[in-house]
């Protein structure tokens, strides 16, 4: 019997138009991820890690090949189905945090729950819980501009985790942080991974991140070079 994966990619090819021709960012990747993994796509710029993360996050479609993400076939996913999948089951963490500057920490974390149409009381409880996981419950009224870079990234983690998704995708999450904050943020994510069995998938070339990963997938020129489990 075939094993059921959280993410199951088969012969994924991604081409981008470039001038009269095209540039192939991913060249027939086969990859599988199970629930609860703490894995990373590692490689230099242009190796295809962000492109792959976008396809797994249903932000982009493969040019060829396909597979499933959280049980949904990605090659035929409609925009509305992809939006629903992201809304309910995928969280994102970005390099530059991307918090809504005009909203408070509480409101930023609350946003994914608003999209889910959750009642106000339940929302409040979950937001405060999520802020508690990242140690920022006492800063819930602050604006992002009043926080340090590390604190902002922890708010972003709370925002990604508040709906307790099955999958969190983090693109270079420590690129804008110093060493101390990087370790703090990574430890937080590690704890959440262990506590909720949420799958974390990183795109990175930062040694600090790599040292925390339990699975290291090395990419080079859109091809899988090495898949290493620690």
């Amino acid at each position: 019997m075939e094993q059921s994966y959280l993410i199951d990619l088969k012969q994924v090819v991604k081409r981008f138009p470039m001038g009269k021709g095209s540039f192939t960012a991913l060249k027939g990747l086969d990859l599988q991820f199970e629930a609860g993994e703490f894995a990373g796509l590692i490689g230099p710029s242009g190796s295809g890690k962000t492109t792959l993360l976008n396809i797994i996050g249903t932000l982009d479609l493969p040019s060829e090949g396909g597979g499933t993400v959280l049980g949904h076939p990605i090659e035929h996913l409609k925009a509305s189905e992809a939006a629903l999948l992201r809304k309910e089951r995928i969280g994102f963490i970005f390099q530059s945090y991307n918090l809504l500057q005009v909203h408070t920490v509480f409101e930023n974390v609350e946003f994914p729950l608003l999209l889910l149409g959750m009642p106000s009381e339940e929302r409040r409880k979950k937001v405060m819980e999520a802020l508690d996981w990242v140690g920022l419950a006492d800063r819930h009224r602050s604006r992002p501009s009043q926080l340090s870079g590390g604190e902002c990234q922890r708010v972003a983690i709370a925002r990604a985790m508040v709906k307790q998704p099955s999958l969190v995708l983090a693109d270079e999450p420590t690129a804008n942080l110093d060493a101390a904050n990087s370790h703090h943020v990574l430890k937080t994510m590690q704890q959440l991974n262990e506590a909720f069995q949420t799958t974390f998938l990183f795109a990175t070339h930062d040694e600090k991140v790599i040292s925390y990963l339990k699975r290291k997938i090395y990419l080079m020129d859109g091809q899988l070079v090495k898949d290493e489990r620690v």
């Binding site: 932000l59 982009d60 939006a83 629903l84 992201r86 994102f92 991307n98 005009v102």
Partner: protein, 425 residues
């Protein structure tokens, strides 16, 4: 969700206050410009009406056909009775009898010989009656360069240019020579008591202004006048009303068909080139307003477009969080509609206030119009019309909305990952 988006809108000055301000300024300018152009066009027409044509004019059919010659022998008779009848039939108009005439102005020397002489075009209006508003209507007080208005019999005003050409001074006695209503020689002495400068070549070339009673005596025109001019209350020409008056005039006044001396009622549009001027003014007003509205619409459309493009990053984030493209697009349009409506309301109020100030105070361009050859007003005034209350909403709401509709299309045209990339940059 609405509360969340509302909070974002209110807190982000770049999304709310700035666009509202831009829209309000654009709308205020549009409203003011429309009122100003309308006022400018209308003032030119009104000035011609006040100085020469009236909103409607009653004269004999023959005088109307030969108006350029100002033939006194074709004047209206029984003017007092006719004026009473006009007032009874049309109490919403102010009626004034006037005499337009032409002749020769002679300046006598010490020995009674002719020192200087020149052709003169004259107008006799009612200066002396206490209820008369003719002096005010012609704005003579403001046009006085020296001296004063006629207050007693035998006094007259001359255009400043003409008096200079004749070499006369205030207090000099001049002789007017012309023809009486019955074709005889008319001559009368007048004392120059003031000089006027209307800033209009047509009037300032050689004009004489005197009281009706004096000219009536000089031209043997007891109870006669070349015309009775009527002005609508409120000072604005109303062509539809004038047309109705014209259509019923023959029946109302039992005019005998074919009688050359029978009174006829002329609309402002019927006289000289006024019809053309009114039509051109209307068309020009529309054209200028259209061009300005178009320019303003392009500015606000662009503002809406930039406002949307500026937020592609935010849209990328919202899409990543699971919001649908349609929802993001609709929320952008609702925001844009609110901004357009609020900005248009504020802009309309500001524009109307400014236009009202300009309507009441006016802008005096007298100094720069000294050499004008057309009969143009020296004080430019805006004029508020009902259109001004909604015209600003065209650029304010529609252009802003179209701008954001177009910029929002980027949400659909770009794939989500591209918006996502713009979020990162």
């Amino acid at each position: 969700m609405i509360r969340f988006l509302g909070k974002g809108l209110l807190r982000d000055a770049g999304r709310s206050r700035m666009p509202v301000m831009v829209v309000a300024i654009g709308v205020a300018l549009s409203v003011f410009m429309h009122a100003y152009v309308h006022g400018l066009m209308q003032d030119s027409i009104e000035m011609n009406a006040r100085m020469r044509y009236g909103h409607v004019k009653v004269c004999t059919r023959s005088f109307a056909e030969n108006a350029a010659q100002m033939p006194a022998d074709l004047s209206l008779l029984d003017v007092r009775a006719l004026k009473q009848q006009l007032t009874a039939h049309h109490p919403n108009l102010q009626w004034s009898d006037r005499i337009q005439f032409a002749g020769l102005m002679d300046v006598p020397g010490m020995m009674g010989e002719t020192r200087a002489q020149g052709p003169v075009i004259g107008m006799a209006v009612d200066f002396f009656s206490t209820h008369s508003v003719e002096g005010e209507r012609l704005n003579v007080q403001a046009a006085l360069t020296e001296g004063r208005l006629p207050q007693q019999a035998g006094e007259m005003l001359l255009s400043a240019d003409f008096s200079e050409k004749l070499g006369v001074q205030i207090g000099d006695t001049l002789m007017f020579m012309g023809s009486t209503q019955f074709g005889g020689l008319a001559y009368a002495n007048f004392v120059l008591i003031g000089c006027v400068d209307f800033g209009v070549e047509v009037l300032d070339r050689g004009m004489m202004l005197a009281d009706l009673s004096d000219v009536r005596i000089a031209m043997d025109m007891e109870d006669a006048a070349t015309e009775i001019v009527g002005f609508f209350e409120g000072g604005q020409y109303n062509d539809a009303a004038a047309r109705r008056m014209q259509e019923s005039f023959a029946a109302d006044f039992e005019v005998v068909a074919g009688d050359p001396y029978a009174p006829v009622l002329l609309r402002l549009k019927d006289q000289d080139d006024m019809g053309q001027l009114i039509d051109i003014s209307g068309a020009m007003g529309l054209l200028i307003t259209f061009i300005f509205l178009l320019a303003m619409s392009l500015v606000l459309w662009n503002a809406g477009l930039l406002g949307g493009i500026r937020r592609y990053g935010e849209f990328g984030l919202r899409l990543a969080m699971g919001e649908t493209k349609g929802h993001v697009y609709r929320s952008l349009q609702v925001e844009s509609l609110l901004i357009g409506l609020l900005g248009s309301l504020i802009g309309t109020v500001l524009g109307l206030l400014f236009a009202w100030w300009m309507q009441e105070k006016g802008l005096n361009l007298g100094d720069s119009m000294q050499n004008a050859s057309m009969m143009l007003p020296t004080v430019i005034r805006a004029r508020i019309t009902p259109v001004d209350f909604y015209i600003g909403f065209i650029p304010g709401v529609f252009a802003t909305l179209i701008g954001s509709l177009l910029s929002g299309l980027g949400i659909f045209k770009r794939n989500t990952a591209q918006l996502f990339k713009e979020l990162e940059t």
